[in-house]
């Protein structure tokens, strides 16, 4: 499914310093029953955002008015562990987020994000702490994520760090391409390869 191109994003951010946030928290399994991709924002972090009767939990970061409309989430270490459900990445995107920053991501979640147009930005644990501290001190702290230059910057202070992304995926994100576009272009090469497989 197509997604909007990603270039430079400047936004406030939701802080979520809890470590090992797993995809069952991001989108619980009982909300995976759809057969089409829509409205996954509704149950994004369902059980952390809402009581079982549906009342919002006011203390949870994603419910705080002060952060509303942010396009970046700064998460704790090992963000997105667990299940391979792409619904987790869809719910991030559908909630209006285009970038998740963390000092470490689980592999499958990171891959899924890149495939749906959410940029996972891995920073050092020290820089992650700097970001959390800045947001705690001023909830309106702006963070600039510059994909062409591969940097993430605290706008107010200019503190900055570079991040890794391979040039193939970077090109995809900048242009809104995905892997199927690439693979369909080399179909003949793949079918020739398939002929060589023993089983």
């Amino acid at each position: 499914m197509a997604y909007d191109k990603f270039n430079v994003l400047t936004s406030t951010a939701y802080p979520l310093p809890t470590e090992n946030v797993d995809t069952d928290q991001i989108i619980p399994a009982r909300f995976l029953k759809a057969t089409e991709r829509k409205d996954f924002d509704i149950n994004f972090f369902r059980d952390w955002r809402f009581e079982q009767d549906g009342t919002p939990k006011p203390d949870f970061s994603l419910n705080k008015e002060i952060y509303a409309g942010s396009k970046i989430l700064v998460g704790g270490r090992n963000f997105g562990s667990g299940s391979s459900r792409e619904h987790a990445a869809w719910s991030v995107y559908d909630f209006g987020l285009r970038c998740v920053i963390s000092s470490a991501f689980a592999d499958i979640f990171k891959n899924n994000c890149l495939n749906v147009g959410v940029l996972p930005v891995q920073v050092s644990p020290e820089f992650a702490d700097t970001l959390f501290d800045a947001i705690m001190a001023d909830p309106k702290t702006e963070i600039k994520v510059d994909l062409p230059n591969q940097t993430v910057t605290l706008v107010a202070t200019g503190q900055s760090e570079s991040f890794d992304i391979n040039s193939y995926k970077k090109d995809n994100m900048l242009n809104g391409f995905d892997d199927i576009d690439y693979l369909k272009n080399i179909e003949n090469e793949i079918s020739a390869f398939a002929e060589t497989r023993p089983f």
Binding site: L32, K33, D47, G76, N78, I186, I190
Partner: protein, 465 residues
């Protein structure tokens, strides 16, 4: 340069390497189920693509299926809709489909090996993180997202950077009551829930050599719980014996040819891993988890560590114990439980039911415990009956349900109620994993059985004399 098992299988599936990018990686076998495939088919159709190699994809319904009354229409309309979508998509594109009630139906990671679809040296993916299970056969197997399911359907490839390599050696003799599940939970407790992120693991050493194929599947299944993309074990005589004659394995000359290839699938002596760990079998006890990720495990007789003695953030640790309503220093033995769940792609195979029965035989389920015993497939059910285990189960006051993922992820009605404590043989103890507010203790079938008859967390060794 000397190659690892992982290198051999990976490198032989690379169609091309993208400059400063991932490998174009060919997939031999693709499993799909009802939850993570419908959107992939929608994507495929919206682009005007088709399924290029339908004979390489296998569909089975498991995640969202009831475990009682499977002969009746599925009551939940959303679940029924997903099951219909799987069946219709499979029919439309000529993909084999094992729906509810089919004699081959069951959990995808149980039925794949059972039917000989899983083969050494193959690449296997599925929109499910426990696809790592199939690594037990010397395959490279891992979970993928729905975008990648669409890629496999429409091109038979995905784009993957090659992971780094890790070898985990466990040598020595396992003690009484120590099962493959305990070996895995022990390793994960050492690695933590993210220690192997970015790596593909090879398990080596006599502990794995001596394991049954079922045991190896349990170990490889849990690789993802320490962050690894997958885990694998070199195929050996036991692997070939397991596979020979299964419905989808190569036959005759094709088998002989495959054997010649499979016998080359081992790590060469001088091959190097990016990182290597050694553990001693004698240090492993029957394990139990006490927190909200699978890395928070310990020997069942131990007490919950203090926050200052664990890796990672103190706040996250305290939040986790708070969710579980446990305190630092608590002993797990003797904690009253409400539920026991035997099943899942981790521990839903015949050997797991044998282990469970070895404890409950001649004993009775405790009155305070609700137990769900869910075989991994219809073939496992048949085997349970053939061995007379069903009688042991019934005599001990338990009921055998029908196959499916069930309470492992609680998509169906098998939900542990809020606040209730369950000893589960499944793979995840995340908050609410087994139902909103549920609390999960991961353990082996032996610990589950001992706890089910005593009504409290119990060391199975006390009942195994």
């Amino acid at each position: 340069m000397a190659k690892t098992l992982f290198d051999k299988v990976w490198d032989s599936h690379v169609v091309r390497q993208v400059k400063d990018g991932p490998d174009v990686f060919f997939i031999d076998r693709h499993f799909i189920h009802e939850v993570t495939s419908p959107v992939a088919f929608l994507g495929l159709e919206s682009r005007g693509n088709s399924v290029v190699y339908p004979e390489r994809t296998f569909a089975t319904a498991d995640h969202n299926t009831p475990t009682i009354n499977q002969h009746l229409p599925v009551e939940d309309p959303l679940s029924a809709n997903q099951l219909d979508a799987l069946e219709n998509n499979a029919a439309k594109y000529g993909i084999s489909h094992w729906g509810l009630g089919d004699e081959n139906n069951g959990i995808v990671h149980v039925v794949g090996p059972e039917n000989g679809i899983t083969l050494p040296g193959a690449t296997i993916v599925c929109g499910d993180s426990h696809t790592s299970t199939h690594g037990a056969f010397g395959a490279i197997a891992f979970g993928i997202g729905t975008s990648e399911v669409e890629m496999v359907l429409s091109t038979q490839c995905i784009m993957q950077p090659k992971p780094k390599s890790m070898r985990i050696n466990v040598n020595g003799k396992l003690g009484l009551g120590v099962t493959p599940k305990d070996v895995a939970l022990y390793i994960i407790s050492k690695q933590t829930t993210s220690g192997a992120t970015g790596y593909f693991v090879e398990y080596a050493g006599d502990v794995f050599e001596n394991m049954t194929m079922e045991g190896r599947m349990t170990v490889c299944n849990l690789s993802i719980e320490m962050g690894a993309r997958g885990g694998m074990i070199a195929p050996d005589a036991k692997t070939f014996e397991y596979l020979k004659g299964r419905s989808q394995t190569p036959k005759g000359a094709a088998w002989d040819k495959a054997m010649k290839y499979w016998e080359t699938l081992y790590t060469e002596d001088d091959a190097e891993f990016d990182v290597e760990f050694n553990y001693d079998a004698a240090d492993i006890e029957p394990m139990i988890t006490y927190g909200t990720n699978p890395g928070m495990g310990m020997g069942v007789t131990k007490s919950i560590p203090n926050a200052e003695n664990v890796e990672g953030g103190v706040e996250t640790y305290k939040k986790s114990l708070g969710y579980m309503s446990f305190s630092e220093g608590d002993a797990m033995i003797g904690k009253e439980i409400d539920f026991v769940f035997l099943g899942s792609c981790t521990n839903g195979r015949i050997e797991d039911f044998r282990a469970f029965c070895s404890i409950v035989e001649g004993r009775k389920k405790a009155d305070n415990v609700t137990a769900w015993l869910v075989p991994g497939s219809h073939k496992v059910v048949d085997q349970i009956q053939a061995e007379g285990l069903d009688k042991i189960i019934t005599d001990a006051g338990f009921v055998l349900r029908e196959p499916g993922c069930s309470a492992c992820l609680a998509m169906n009605d098998d939900k542990i109620p809020s606040g209730k404590l369950s000893v589960s043989t499944s793979n995840r103890n995340f908050e609410g994993r087994q139902g909103p507010g549920s609390r999960t203790l991961l353990a082996s079938p032996l610990v589950a059985a001992a706890s089910a008859v005593e009504g409290v967390v119990t060391d199975p060794r006390t009942l195994l004399v």
